[in-house]
Symmetry: C2
Subunit: 83 residues, 2 copies
């Protein structure tokens, strides 16, 4: 069965996010000063082959832990859906 | 009223995504060769002050167009929800 996974990897809330800080500052320059607390991370989409939903989720979780997220600085969440 | 926006900015499907290609290749090395078609973009979260949902969505859309996404190479989608 084919599944599609959507993963978000974000810097931990407790950590400084310099890229997000810079973008928050830039919002003022384009007249959108109501926007703040910008935080920037990664979004990943992928396809995978698995026997069922549980196996697909386990594979994506393993990929996040081993390769996609740096758990010291980042947290991740994902959604897996059948294609 | 306070709103929270979650934005995904991804490379257009028609474009090569070298970072995603590299990660797809690495999946084999960690024993997850069932995962393929990895594409990598950005995920952004932010807070904003707006009178209502429609105004909040318009502001986020403007931020994406002016600053957050390069529409030549990337497409974006977002969700705005009241906090």
């Amino acid at each position: 069965m084919k599944f599609k996974a959507e993963i978000d990897v974000m810097p931990h809330a407790a950590l400084l996010d310099p890229q997000g800080k810079a973008v928050t500052g830039s919002m003022k320059n384009i007249g959108l000063s109501q926007i703040n607390q910008v935080r920037i991370g990664k979004h990943m989409s992928m396809e995978l082959e698995a026997a069922n939903q549980a196996e697909a989720e386990q594979m994506v979780d393993e990929a996040c832990k081993k390769l996609l997220a740096n758990l010291i600085m980042e947290s991740y969440q994902f959604q897996v859906s059948a294609m």
